[in-house]
Each structure stands twice: as structure tokens, then as C-alpha cells.
């Protein structure tokens, strides 16, 4: 908020046009602590990001948006679980004689984790848009990728057990 008062002293051409217009209409809060412009109270114009989401449709019940936010975070934690599995497999690889199997399994887990995180954010955007446009909720490609990674890991695990017993 202090930062905003300072920047008000700048010449008008230095202001991002949209931001200046919103702020001057009164009743607005300062920019977000992490420079992600926040919503304004009481003045119609919104400066929330990403614009491609908040520029469209109508306001939703905030509880739905909060639930969507929590779903994004839950998917990110799932993605971290795959990364942790990859780390465990890498550590395991140093303890075994068969070098390629655990390492390739780790690569699958890591790649699955990275893809799940990207798809989680994509899904947040799609769900928020569907809520704002009163459309049916979209299906989630992320869940398919997550499931696929776990299936491949299980397959490699079964292969490891079978080859080690012979």
C-alpha cells in the first residue's frame, strides 16, 4: 500500500493504463505484496490476474473459487508425491546392482510429477472459466497423466521383482 502512494507521484504516462484507471475510481486497495494486482472493492474494474480468466463471465460464489484454489493445491501436492517417489527411487538405485531399472523408474516419476503440476494449473484456469461462464466443469487431463505415471511405475516395479528372482 505504501508502494502505491509512492508510485502515484509518478508522471501519468508511467502508469500501466488499466491500473491507473482502476485506482483513481476510489475505494481500492494497494497492489499485492508480491506485485500481483489485486481485486478492487467497490469499483467495477477488476485487475485480478490472470486476465484471460477474470476478464470473462460473471462473479462466482467465492466459496466455489476457494474450492478450486484448494483443488489446485491438492494436485500440486500429488505432483510432489511423484517427485518424492522419484527421489526415493534414485536413492534406491545407488543401493542395487541393476542400475538402469530404478533410474528409469525415477525418470518416469519425475516426468509425471512435472506434467501433473503443469496440468494442475491448466485445470485451475479451465475450472475457474467454467464457473464464471456457468458451463459444465471440464474433464481433467492431469488425473489421466497422474494415473498413467503410477501405472507405469507399478509395471516397472513388477518387472524389477520378476527379473531379480531369476
Amino acid at each position: 500500500m505504501e508502494g502505491w502512494r509512492v508510485s502515484m507521484a509518478l508522471p501519468s504516462h508511467l502508469h500501466p493504463a488499466g491500473l491507473a484507471a482502476t485506482r483513481s475510481s476510489g475505494g481500492c486497495r494497494g497492489p499485492h505484496p508480491l506485485l500481483w494486482p489485486d481485486e478492487c472493492d467497490g469499483c467495477g474494474a477488476m485487475t485480478r490476474r490472470p486476465r484471460r480468466v477474470y476478464d470473462q463471465g460473471q462473479e462466482t460464489d467465492p466459496r466455489f473459487s476457494l474450492a478450486n484454489e484448494r483443488t489446485l493445491l491438492a494436485w500440486l501436492r500429488s505432483s510432489l508425491a511423484l517427485v518424492v517417489a522419484g527421489i526415493a527411487l534414485l536413492t534406491l538405485a545407488e543401493l542395487t546392482q541393476v542400475d538402469w531399472l530404478p533410474e528409469s523408474a525415477a525418470a518416469v516419476a519425475f516426468a509425471g510429477g512435472a506434467a501433473t503440476a503443469i496440468l494442475a494449473y491448466r485445470q485451475w484456469v479451465r475450472v475457474e472459466l467454467a464457473l464464471r461462464l456457468s458451463r459444465p466443469l471440464p474433464s481433467n487431463l492431469g488425473s489421466l497423466v497422474f494415473l498413467g505415471s503410477i501405472l507405469v511405475l507399478t509395471f516397472i516395479g513388477a518387472l524389477a521383482v520378476l527379473t531379480s528372482s531369476t
Binding site: 500481483w36 472493492d41 477488476m46 484448494r70 512435472a114 503443469i118
Partner: protein, 103 residues
């Protein structure tokens, strides 16, 4: 009251995710040090910083979120830490894949 609980749950979810990300990033940092990979070590350190920022930002944002929901005002919007955390998880996954493929 129910709406207030929603905001509370969301804040807790942020804290949980931030904490989990920072722990995984710290383990990845250790792994990078063990394999003396400067590139992956630096990336992990940046992720630790992002996760810490997400926790602090989530705590700072909590009161605003409560207020919004109780006055049934608009959702305050996804903070920058949302896509930043998603990017952080992607970086961790990619870093791990590099470690396991290149060694």
C-alpha cells in the same frame, strides 16, 4: 460461518503445500550437492525460496480472504504464488529427471 471455514481451509492448504514443496526442494538440494550439480542445486534453492514466499504470502492474505468470503464479496483472485508453486513443482520434477537420466 461455513464460508469462514472455507477461507480457513484454503489458508491451511496453502501452508501445507508450501511446507511440502520446501521440504522436497531441500531434499533435492541435498541430492544435487551429493552429485555436485551446481545447476540443479541453484534451481532447488530458488524453489525453497518460492515455497517460503508462498507460506508467508498465504498468511498475509488470510484476513483479506476471510473478509471477502464473509461479506460474500468476490473471490480475491489467485495470488501469483499459485502459478509460481506450479512452476516450482515442474522445476523439481524436471531437475529430478535430469539427475536420473544424466546422473
Amino acid at each position: 460461518m461455513e464460508a469462514g471455514l472455507q477461507a480457513e481451509r484454503t489458508t491451511l492448504a496453502w501452508q501445507r503445500t508450501g511446507l511440502a514443496t520446501s521440504v522436497v526442494a531441500l531434499v533435492m538440494l541435498r541430492l544435487a550437492v551429493l552429485r555436485s550439480s551446481l545447476f540443479i542445486g541453484t534451481a532447488s534453492a530458488v524453489v525453497v525460496f518460492i515455497a517460503a514466499a508462498a507460506i508467508v504470502e498465504g498468511a498475509l492474505r488470510h484476513s483479506r480472504r476471510m473478509e471477502r468470503v464473509q461479506t460474500s464479496g468476490a473471490h480475491a483472485g489467485l495470488p501469483l504464488t499459485g502459478p509460481a508453486l506450479a512452476a516450482a513443482c515442474t522445476v523439481l520434477g524436471t531437475a529430478g529427471a535430469l539427475l536420473s537420466l544424466v546422473g
